[in-house]
Amino acid sequence: MNYIASIGSYFIMIRELFKKPTKWSIMKSLILKEIDELVFGSLGIIIFISFFIGGVVTIQTALNLTNPLIPESLIGFAARQSVILEFAPTFTSIIMAGKVGSYITSSIGTMRVTEQIDALEVMGVNSLNYLVFPKIIALMLYPFAIAIAMYVGIFGGWVAGVFGGFTTSASYIEGIQLDFIPYHITYAFIKSIIFAFVIATIPSFHGYYMKGGALEVGKASTTAFVWTSVAIIILNYVLTQLLLG
C-alpha cells in the first residue's frame, strides 16, 4: 500500500472514531473490559521486565565505574535516570506494542474477516467508535503502569546492586535521591500517554482496514507491530527534543 495514502486514512480513521458515539451505558462496560484486558492484563509482564532491566542497568553501571574518584552513589543515580527517562516509558512501550498491539490487530482483524464489523455497520453502529474508542480510553491509564514500571525497575536495581555486592544499600538510596528533577517524571508521563495513543490506534488501523482471511490477520499483526515500534521510536526522539532539548 502507498505509505502517504495510509497515513492519510489513519488520520481519517482518528476523526471518524470520535463521531456518533456509542450509548454511554454500553461504552462504559466496554471501557472497563478493555482496562482489564489491556492494562491489568499487562502488569505482570511489565513488572517482570522492569525488575530485570533495572537490575541489569545497575550491574552494567557498577562494572563500568572503575575510577575510585567517582562516588558509589552514582550507580543508583544512573539506574534511576535511565529507568525513569527511557526504560520504563520507551522500552516498556515497545514490548506493549508487541503484546497489546498484536492482540488489538488480531481481534479487530478477525472481526473484519468474519464480517462482524459489517454486522455492526448494518445495525447503524459506528464500528470505529465502538471498537477503537474504548481502547484509547483504557490505555489512558497506561501511565499508571509506567509508574509501577519505574518503581519496580529502581527496586530491581537495588536488589541486583546490593545482593550482587556491587554497591551498598545506603549509597544506592543516596544515589536515587540525588539531584532529582520532578519534571523528568512529567516528561516520562507525557511520553507514555502519547505512546499509549499510538499503541491503541496504529494496531487498530491495521486490523480494521485489513483484507483477506486468517493468514492476513497474522500478517497484519506483524505489520502493525513494525509500524507501532517505528512510530514510538520516532516520537520518542521528537518528544525528547521538544521537552528536554
Partner: protein
C-alpha cells in the same frame, strides 16, 4: 418493496455489477442465485447500504436511498436485518448477548422487556437451551439460527440473508429455509436471499434472479426456472447430476 434501478459497482478496475434493475416484493422470499464470484454478495451489500453504487438508484417503499437525509437513512437501516454468510456473530457475547445487542444499542426498553423479546425470538428460531453459550460453543446450524434471531429482533421490514444455508447438511438447510419463509410470511417482510443451493430455489424461490458476470441474466419463479430455455440458467441449474436426471425425465414425459 425494494426497487433497484440500473445499479453499477466497480472496485478499482474491476466492474462487478454492470447495470442491474429489478424489484423485490413485500411478504415474499426473493432469491438471488449465480456462481461464486458473480457479484451476489456485492449486490446484497448495495441493498444494505454497506456499499454505495457508482450509478443507479435503490428505493425502499418508494423512497430513494440517496435522497434521504442522514438520519432518515439511519432509521431505514434500523428497519433492516441481515444474516451474513458466516453468521458474523460477536464472539465476545453469548447467544443471548448477540440477540439482545441491537435492543441494547437502539431502544430504551427495560432489562426485562429486552429479556422477553430475546426469549420470544430465540424460541421462534427453535433455540431454547443455548442462551448462555458462546458462538464458538454451538454448531453452524445453531449459529445461523442465532443470526436469524438477531436479524429479526428489531422487527425489520427488510431481511437480507447471504447464503443462509451454506455449510449445513441438507436437512438443516431445509429447516433454515423454511424458517426464513415462515418468518417472511408471518411478519410480512421483504426478504432477499443469496444462494446457490438448488434445494432452496425449489423450496422457497418465490422470485428468482439469476446473476452472471454482474448482469441480470434471467428472472422468474421456481416454477419457471426448470422450464426455461436460457442456456446459462439451465447450465447452472442442471450442474448437479440429480437435477440433470430430473430434467431428463421431465423432457421425456413431455414428449
Amino acid at each position: 418493496m425494494i426497487e433497484v434501478n440500473n445499479i453499477h459497482k466497480s472496485f478499482g478496475d474491476s466492474h462487478i455489477l454492470k447495470g442491474i434493475s429489478t424489484s423485490f416484493e413485500k411478504g415474499k422470499t426473493n432469491l438471488i442465485i449465480g456462481q461464486s464470484g458473480s457479484g451476489k454478495t456485492v449486490f446484497l451489500k448495495c441493498l444494505l447500504g454497506l456499499f454505495t453504487p457508482d450509478e443507479g438508484t435503490i428505493s425502499y417503499n418508494g423512497n430513494i436511498y440517496d435522497d434521504l437525509s442522514a438520519s432518515q437513512q439511519r432509521n431505514l437501516r434500523q428497519e433492516m436485518g441481515m444474516v451474513f454468510q458466516g453468521s458474523a456473530l460477536f464472539d465476545s457475547l453469548t447467544v443471548e448477548g448477540n440477540v439482545m445487542f441491537p435492543l441494547e444499542m437502539f431502544t430504551k426498553q427495560s432489562k426485562s422487556e429486552m429479556q422477553d423479546r430475546v426469549d420470544t425470538v430465540l424460541k421462534r428460531v427453535n433455540l431454547i437451551d443455548a442462551h448462555h453459550k458462546f458462538p464458538s460453543e454451538i454448531s453452524g446450524g445453531m449459529q445461523k439460527r442465532v443470526a436469524i434471531a438477531r436479524a429479526i429482533v428489531m422487527n425489520p421490514k427488510y431481511l437480507f440473508c447471504d447464503e443462509p444455508n451454506s455449510g449445513l447438511d441438507p436437512k438443516t438447510a431445509i429447516l433454515i429455509d423454511n424458517l426464513i419463509l415462515e418468518i417472511t410470511k408471518e411478519y410480512d417482510i421483504t426478504t432477499v436471499i443469496n444462494t446457490h443451493d438448488m434445494n432452496s430455489v425449489m423450496e422457497i424461490g418465490e422470485k428468482i434472479i439469476f446473476l452472471k458476470n454482474g448482469h441480470k441474466e434471467w428472472e422468474g419463479t421456481n416454477k419457471e426456472i426448470f422450464k426455461t430455455d436460457n442456456a446459462a440458467v439451465t447450465d447452472f441449474v442442471y450442474s448437479s447430476e440429480l437435477f440433470k436426471k430430473v430434467r431428463q425425465m421431465y423432457i421425456e414425459e413431455r414428449n
